[in-house]
Subunit: 236 residues, 2 copies
DNA sequence: CCCCTCTCGATACGCTGTATCGCTCAATAC
DNA sequence: GTATTGAGCGATACAGCGTATCGAGAGGGG
């Protein structure tokens, strides 16, 4: 039965052992490794070693590595603060969006997983419920499909934006300089391409743009999206 | 020098060989494999085998597997039709967005890579240039930073939305049924969770939502985003 | 014609996720 | 109290990965 979810299966009872194990312990160890060295550091061997166990011992708690990744994602969803009931829809969605962004900054590997797999963990479900509930029942969003459309759009933007931000941060870290520094200073290939004159607008970006603070860029994009939703869902 | 890009290095001259090789051949073979069996099928061994070569022969043309992935992404960017110069900004961005979506439907692996790495290939650059040029110079977008903000927002949405669509498509394929079918019919875990009453809005989604055609959902989301941009950038 | 150099790709290394299955130990039956 | 069974744990093993290494072989110069 390939459809069975981790969350369907009870955890095995904890046995007396010199090094006790549990899903929580496993997930925490995996998250710690991922925070420190990226997803590449999360191998079953390394996670098990961090818990003084052999690799196969983990298979009592999870069935595949993918399940471990699912649990990690759900754990991060649990860290995200949800808006209090009664919060305005715009404030509520904003709070959720910046919460996801903050979580992704804390756990860069999060963006590699979220949005690429179905979200079915309890924390993910709570998160979805809260997002939808922020809009549901309001006169501006008469049907559940309106709610879904709006929330889906915001989530798509947030996931895309956050993934892009992290990708840029990684590139900067691995090259040791800011993207525009890199483009402006060295990057013989980029320089040659820009020198062809084929990319006038791109050149303007590289040489003229102000490169606003990334949080501000995110906020501006988010307000675009929320504005667009508002214009179509403003009470008459 | 870790910053050196593939596109900086010339391809080695083609040697007389029973099985000639080139970057194009390698990339085409890799894309074919990825289209058929997902990114997991793209191993240097398999790509090389598809070209009747040993794995290490590829290293004359690429330096790492990541470079191959970069080349694959750039190839797909090359498939995306760009708006003719002079197209209105809204039409232009729409055309680009649906172009990316179509490409991602043809090459599902595309969503796993795009947005997660810097885009520096010639086709990617052309694509960025065209996107920016669609807005640049218009009175509604007085500075290059306005242009960047608007294009970045649309791209973030498109990447996030497309990734989500593909993720859902994969989940449906692997479970053999539609998401809502799955939730409604079986999914003992989901059913149990919904039965707790903790997720009233989610339950409404599962049982009441219409589940509109995914292309329509994408278009609606895109028009939200474009509307939001328009409201802030409408000439007075 | 010989020797040197340089290139290419077969071999090999360390790593991955996980299937297999012998061992260990607890519980049951007598 | 002892013998037998059952289950489950985890060491071992396997197939595959990306790629570093380095010996063989080809091509050019003397």
């Amino acid at each position: 039965m390939p459809n069975e979810l981790v969350w369907d299966r009870p955890e095995p009872p904890s046995k007396p052992s010199p090094t006790p194990l549990s899903r929580d312990l496993i997930v925490s160890a995996a998250i710690r490794l991922a925070d420190e060295g990226g997803l590449d550091e999360v191998s079953l061997r390394k996670v098990a070693a961090a818990l003084n166990a052999g690799p196969m011992r983990l298979y009592g708690y999870i069935e595949t590595k993918d399940e471990l990744l699912d649990l990690m994602v759900d754990e991060v969803y649990g860290e995200i603060e949800l808006p209090a009931p009664g919060t305005g829809w715009r404030e509520g969605l904003t709070q959720i969006a910046v919460g996801i962004r903050a979580a992704a900054k804390r756990h860069e590997w999060f963006v590699d997983l979220v949005g690429g797999r179905p979200r079915r963990g309890p924390n993910s479900l709570r998160h979805m419920e809260a997002s939808l509930a922020t809009l549901a029942g309001r006169p501006e969003f008469p049907t559940i499909d309106h709610v879904l459309g709006a929330v889906g759009t915001v989530m798509a933007f947030v996931h895309g934006a956050v993934r892009g931000e992290v990708a840029e941060a990684r590139a900067e870290r691995s090259s040791g300089m800011t993207e525009e520094q890199w483009q402006r200073a060295s990057g013989p290939y980029i320089e040659r391409m820009l020198a062809t004159g084929e990319f006038p607008t791109l050149a303007k970006v590289v040489y003229d743009a102000e490169h606003t603070d990334s949080a501000a860029v995110f906020d501006i994009g988010l307000s675009y999206v929320l504005d667009g939703i508002a214009t179509r869902h403003t009470p008459a």
